[in-house]
C-alpha cells in the first residue's frame, strides 16, 4: 500500500469516525459519491486507478444482484461512501444500509457507464503511457477484492434481503470475487515464473556459450576440410589407377583380338 493511499485511508477513517461520532454525514459526499466530474479533478494516474477499481468492483455483477440492494436516493443524514472508503476497516462498522446503498450506486454507475469508463481509461493510457505503465494493477485488484468482500459480507449481515434467490446471488458474486483473486495470484505467479525462466535461460545460455567457445578452440577447424580434400585427391588417384588397369586389360584384349584376327586371315 502506498503512502498516498494510506494517507487517504486515514482521511477517510477520520471522516467516517467523525460521522459516526457526531451522527452527521457530509451532505456533499452523499449527493456526489460517483460522477465523472469528480474524477476529472483528480490527476490522470489517480483517475486511471479509480476507474479501473470501479470496473473491477462491478465486474460480473448481474442486474438482479443490484436490484437486491437498497435503491434510490440516500437518505439525508446517512453517509455515502466513496470507492476508496470501502477498503478501510471502518467500513465494517458503518450503517449497513448506507454501505449497501453506496454499493448499489457504484454498481449502477459502473454498469450504465461502462463504455464511457473504458473510453476514458483508453484515453488516459494513450495520453500518459509511462504513468499508466507504472500503476500496480495487483494493488487495484487487491482493493477490488476487499470491496467486493465487504459488500457480500454486508448483504449477509444486514438481514434485510428477503429475496429467496439472495443466497445464490451472493454466492455467485463471491465466486466471481474468488476468480478475481485467483487471477491476481496467477498474474503474480506468472511474473515470478517469467523472471525465473528468463534467468535460467540466460544462465544456461551463458554456460553453454562458454563451453562452445572452449570446444571451438580445442579442435582444429581445418582438420575436416583437409581430410575431405585428401580423400578426394586419393579417390581421384584411385580412379586413375582403375583407368590404367582398364586400359591395360583393353590392350590385352586388343592384342588377343589382333592375334585372333590374324589367325582367321
Amino acid at each position: 500500500m502506498t503512502r498516498a493511499s494510506s494517507l487517504r485511508h486515514w482521511g477517510a477513517r477520520l471522516l467516517l469516525l467523525s460521522a459516526l461520532l457526531c451522527g452527521q454525514a457530509p451532505l456533499a459526499a452523499a449527493q456526489g459519491a460517483v460522477d465523472f466530474e469528480r474524477f476529472e479533478t483528480l490527476p490522470p494516474g489517480e483517475q486511471y486507478r479509480k476507474l479501473s477499481l470501479l470496473l473491477l468492483v462491478a465486474g460480473g455483477v448481474e442486474p438482479e444482484f443490484v436490484e437486491m440492494l437498497p435503491a434510490g436516493e440516500i437518505e439525508a443524514g446517512a453517509i455515502s461512501l466513496e470507492l476508496d472508503d470501502f477498503v478501510t476497516p471502518l467500513v465494517r462498522i458503518v450503517n449497513q444500509e448506507a454501505m449497501l446503498a453506496s454499493a448499489a450506486r457504484l454498481f449502477s454507475f459502473a454498469r450504465e457507464r461502462q463504455p464511457e469508463i473504458e473510453r476514458r481509461l483508453t484515453a488516459i493510457g494513450r495520453a500518459h503511457p509511462i504513468l499508466v505503465s507504472m500503476i500496480d494493477i495487483d494493488e487495484i485488484v487487491a482493493d477490488a477484492i476487499i470491496i467486493r468482500n465487504s459488500v457480500a459480507d454486508s448483504i449477509e449481515y444486514s438481514g434485510r434481503v428477503d429475496d429467496p434467490q439472495a443466497p445464490a446471488r451472493v454466492r455467485a458474486f463471491r465466486e466471481r470475487t474468488v476468480y478475481l483473486r485467483n487471477m491476481m495470484e496467477y498474474n503474480q505467479f506468472q511474473k515470478k515464473l517469467n523472471a525465473i525462466t528468463e534467468q535460467a535461460i540466460v544462465d544456461l545460455g551463458g554456460r553453454l556459450d562458454a563451453y562452445q567457445r572452449m570446444f571451438d578452440e580445442e579442435i582444429d577447424p581445418e582438420l575436416i576440410e583437409r581430410r575431405v580434400r585428401s580423400a578426394e585427391i586419393m579417390s581421384a588417384q584411385t580412379g586413375d589407377h582403375f583407368d590404367e588397369q582398364a586400359a591395360m586389360r583393353t590392350n590385352e584384349l586388343l592384342m588377343m583380338l589382333i592375334l585372333m584376327e590374324s589367325e582367321v586371315r
Binding site: Y179, I196, D203, L204, G205, I224, E232, S235, L257
Partner: protein
C-alpha cells in the same frame, strides 16, 4: 524371306530406335544408380497457415526426435543390427562385418544430426514461437532390451500435439551401391520419417499418423505398446513410465512382423479422412547440385529444405490443422501434471470444473509452459551448435566433398555409357551384317574391328571395372573420410553429452526453483475423488478404475474410466457415468486382443453402450455419424444432430 535391300531400308530407323533405347537404358541403368528422385511425394502439398486452436498454452505443437549419440556399449550391437536389418535389400553375411558398414552406420547418426536441423528450422519458422522442440536421443544397449534409445532432454515430458521421428538412412553394403539402394551421400538423401500422436487422437491406429514404409511395423508395435502401457498405469493409479524409443532404433532391434494387414493409405491420398496410417515410400532424394557446389561457403543455402523439408514441414502443418489439439494432448497434459501435482492430474482426468481446480491448473500449466520455453531455448541452442556451428560447417564441407566425388563418377559413367551404346549398336550391326552376307560380314568386321570395336571392348571392360571401382571408390572414400567422421562424431557426442550434463543441471535447478514457487503459491482444491471407485462395461467381467465423481463405490458424473482384462482387451471412457457405467455424453475407445487398432465411439451413451447419435471411428474406414440404440447400430444420422464430448 525379306530381301536384304528392303530389310536394310526399314532396318535403318529401327537401328536408330534401338540405338536410342540402348543409349537411354544404359544411361539410366548405370548413371541412375547414383541418382535419386528430384522431388519428394511431399512436394505438392499446399502451404497452409497454422491454425493453433488449442485451449492450453502449455502444449508444444511438434517434438522432433532423432538419433544424436550412441553409447560405447551400444556401438557393436547397433552396427550388427544395422547390417542385419537393411532397408532395400539383404546384406550378404560376408559384408556385414566390414569396416565400411560400421562407417555407414556411424554416418547415419552423424548425418541425421545435421539434416534434422533443416526440418527443425523450417517448422520453427512456420509455427508459433517456442512450440517446436528437439528431442535428441542416445542409443543404448542392455542384455534385456537389446538396442534402444532414450531422450537426453526433457522435451518429451512436455505435452505435444504431434511427435516426429526423423533420421536419414544409407544402405550398409557399398558393394551393392550400383543396385540403387537408399543412400545418404553427397547430393542424395534418404529420409525416414514417422509422425505419431497420443493414441486418443486416433484410437484406430493407436495414434500413428504417418510412417516411412520400412518402419511401419515397428512404429505400429511401438504405438500399440505405448497405449497398453499407459492404460496399465492409469488402471493401477501409477505414473506413466513408458518411454518410447526411436522408431528407427526399434526397427533395428526387432525383425519386422510381416503378415499383418495394417490400415494404410498412400501419402497424399485423396481419401485423407480415412482412418489409416499414411505410408511414406522410401525416397532417395536428389538435392539440387547447383546449391551443393558452394555449400561450405554459403551456409544460408539449404538444398535439403528445397527438395524435401519444405514439403514435409507443410505435411506436418496440415496434420496439425486436421487433428483436434485438445484431444491430442489431453492425456499427455495429465501425465505432465502428474509429475509434480498428482492430485491435480486426477482432477483433470475427472474433468472437474471447480474454480479451485481451474485456478490451480492455470498455475500448473504456466509451469509447464515455462519448461517448454526453457526447452525451446535448448532446442535453439542445439540448432545453433549443430547447424550453424562448427559441426554444421564440417558437415557441409563433407557433403560438398561427397557431392564432387559423385559428380566425377557420374561424369565418368556418362562418357562410358555413350561409348558403350555406340559400340553395342556397332556390334548389333556387325552381327546383322555377318548373318546377311558373309562378304558383307567380313567387310563389317574389318571396318568395325578398327575404332568401333576398340571402343566397344574398352567400354565393356571399363563398365565392368566401373562396377568394382564404384564400390571400392565409395569404400575408399569412406575409409579415408572415416578418421574425420569418427572425430566429428566423437566431438559431436562430447558436445551433446556435455550439453546434456550442463542442460540437465540447468534444467534441474530451474525445475527446482519453479516447483518451489508453485508449491508456495497453490491453494488447496475444494474437490475430492474416491480412489476406490469402480467403472464397468457390459462386455467386461473385470472391474475397472474410475477417476471422477463417485456414488456408492460406482462411477458417477464426469470422469475417466479404464478396464484392461487379462486377455489384453481394454476399454477407455471419458465422459459422464451413472451406476458405474458410461451414461450421458462421452467418448469410448474399445480395443480387442488380436485386432489391429481400436474402435472409437463419441456421443450419447446409456448403460455402458452407445445410445443415441454417435460418431464412430474404425481402422481403415472413414468416420461416420450413426444412430445407436442400446449398443446396436440403427442407421445413419445427420452430423447436425451429433453432440460430441467437450474436454
Amino acid at each position: 524371306m525379306i530381301p536384304f535391300d528392303r530389310l536394310n531400308v526399314w532396318m535403318k530407323p529401327l537401328a536408330a530406335l534401338v540405338a536410342a533405347a540402348l543409349l537411354s537404358s544404359l544411361i539410366s541403368s548405370c548413371a541412375g544408380t547414383a541418382r535419386g528422385s528430384r522431388s519428394s511425394v511431399f512436394e505438392h502439398d499446399r502451404v497452409l497457415p497454422v491454425a493453433d486452436l488449442q485451449m492450453s498454452k502449455a502444449n508444444a505443437l511438434v517434438v522432433i526426435r532423432f538419433p544424436a549419440i550412441i553409447h560405447a556399449d551400444a556401438e557393436e550391437p547397433y552396427f550388427h543390427a544395422f547390417s542385419i536389418n537393411a532397408i532395400g535389400g539383404e546384406v550378404p553375411p560376408a559384408n556385414r562385418t566390414k569396416k565400411v558398414t560400421t562407417r555407414i552406420a556411424q554416418s547415419v547418426i552423424a548425418k541425421s544430426n545435421y539434416f534434422v536441423m533443416s526440418l527443425y528450422r523450417e517448422l520453427q519458422k512456420d509455427l508459433p514461437e517456442n512450440t517446436v522442440l528437439l528431442s535428441p536421443h542416445i542409443i543404448l544397449w542392455d542384455r534385456e532390451r537389446g538396442i534402444y534409445s532414450r531422450p537426453i532432454l526433457a522435451s518429451e515430458q512436455i505435452p505435444s500435439v504431434v511427435t516426429v521421428d526423423f533420421n536419414v538412412y544409407s544402405y550398409p553394403d557399398t558393394s551393392a551401391l550400383m543396385d540403387s539402394p537408399p543412400v545418404t551421400f553427397g547430393d542424395l538423401v534418404t529420409p525416414l520419417f514417422v509422425v505419431h500422436s497420443d493414441h486418443w487422437v486416433r484410437p484406430s491406429t493407436n495414434g500413428l499418423l504417418l510412417s516411412s514404409e520400412p518402419l511401419l511395423e515397428a512404429a505400429w508395435d511401438q504405438s500399440r505398446e505405448q497405449t497398453a502401457s499407459k492404460l496399465r498405469s492409469r488402471l493401477e493409479f501409477a505414473p506413466a513410465r513408458d518411454q518410447r524409443p526411436l522408431d528407427f532404433i526399434a526397427f533395428l532391434n526387432s525383425r519386422a512382423n510381416p503378415g499383418r494387414s495394417l490400415p494404410l493409405k498412400a501419402v497424399g491420398d485423396s481419401g485423407r479422412d480415412l482412418l489409416a496410417v499414411e505410408s511414406y515410400p522410401v525416397e532417395k532424394i536428389q538435392m539440387n547440385g547447383a546449391l551443393l557446389e558452394n555449400l561450405s561457403a554459403e551456409s544460408g543455402l539449404d538444398p535439403f529444405a528445397e527438395s524435401f523439408v519444405r514439403g514435409a514441414a507443410t505435411r506436418i502443418i496440415q496434420t496439425l490443422n486436421r487433428v483436434d489439439h485438445d484431444r491430442a494432448t489431453f492425456f499427455s497434459r495429465q501425465s505432465a501434471l502428474a509429475r509434480f501435482d498428482p492430485g491435480l492430474a486426477v482432477a483433470v482426468l475427472a474433468q472437474a470444473k471447480d474454480e479451485s481446480v481451474r485456478a490451480r491448473l492455470q498455475l500448473a500449466e504456466a509451469l509447464i509452459e515455462a519448461e517448454r520455453k526453457f526447452l525451446a531455448a535448448q532446442a535453439l541452442s542445439i540448432y545453433d551448435g549443430t547447424y550453424l556451428g562448427d559441426y554444421g560447417v564440417k558437415m557441409r564441407q563433407m557433403i560438398e566433398g561427397e557431392y564432387r566425388l559423385l559428380e566425377n563418377r557420374r561424369s565418368m559413367a556418362r562418357k562410358q555409357n555413350v561409348t558403350a551404346a555406340v559400340a553395342a549398336l556397332a556390334l548389333a550391326g556387325s552381327i546383322y551384317g555377318a548373318t546377311a552376307s558373309g562378304a558383307a560380314g567380313a567387310l563389317s568386321m574389318q571396318s568395325f574391328s578398327g575404332v568401333l570395336m576398340l571402343g566397344s571392348i574398352w567400354a565393356m571392360s571399363s563398365t565392368l571395372e566401373t562396377r568394382a571401382e564404384s564400390a571400392e571408390m565409395s569404400e575408399h572414400f569412406l575409409a579415408l573420410i572415416a578418421p574425420a567422421l569418427e572425430r566429428q562424431i566423437s566431438v559431436q557426442m562430447e558436445w551433446l553429452q556435455s550439453k546434456e550434463r550442463i542442460t540437465a543441471m540447468g534444467f534441474a535447478e530451474f525445475r527446482n526453483k519453479t516447483l518451489t514457487l508453485y508449491q508456495a503459491r497453490i491453494r488447496s482444491m475444494e474437490v475430492e475423488f474416491d480412489s476406490n471407485c469402480t467403472f464397468r462395461h457390459p462386455a467386461f467381467t473385470a472391474p475397472g478404475s474410475w477417476y471422477g465423481g463417485c456414488r456408492d463405490g460406482l462411477a458417477d458424473q464426469r470422469g475417466y474410466g479404464v478396464i484392461l482384462d487379462d486377455a489384453g482387451n481394454w476399454v477407455e471412457f471419458l465422459g459422464s457415468a451413472k451406476g458405474g457405467l458410461a451414461s450421458g455424453i462421452g467418448a469410448m475407445a474399445l480395443g480387442k486382443s488380436g485386432q489391429l487398432g481400436a474402435a472409437y465411439f463419441e456421443g450419447a451413451f446409456r448403460d455402458g453402450r452407445p445410445h443415441g447419435i454417435v460418431r464412430v471411428e474404425a481402422p481403415g474406414e472413414q468416420p461416420r455419424i450413426r444412430a445407436y440404440v442400446a449398443g446396436e447400430d440403427s442407421g445413419a444420422a445427420a452430423a447436425g444432430q451429433w453432440r460430441g464430448l467437450e474436454l
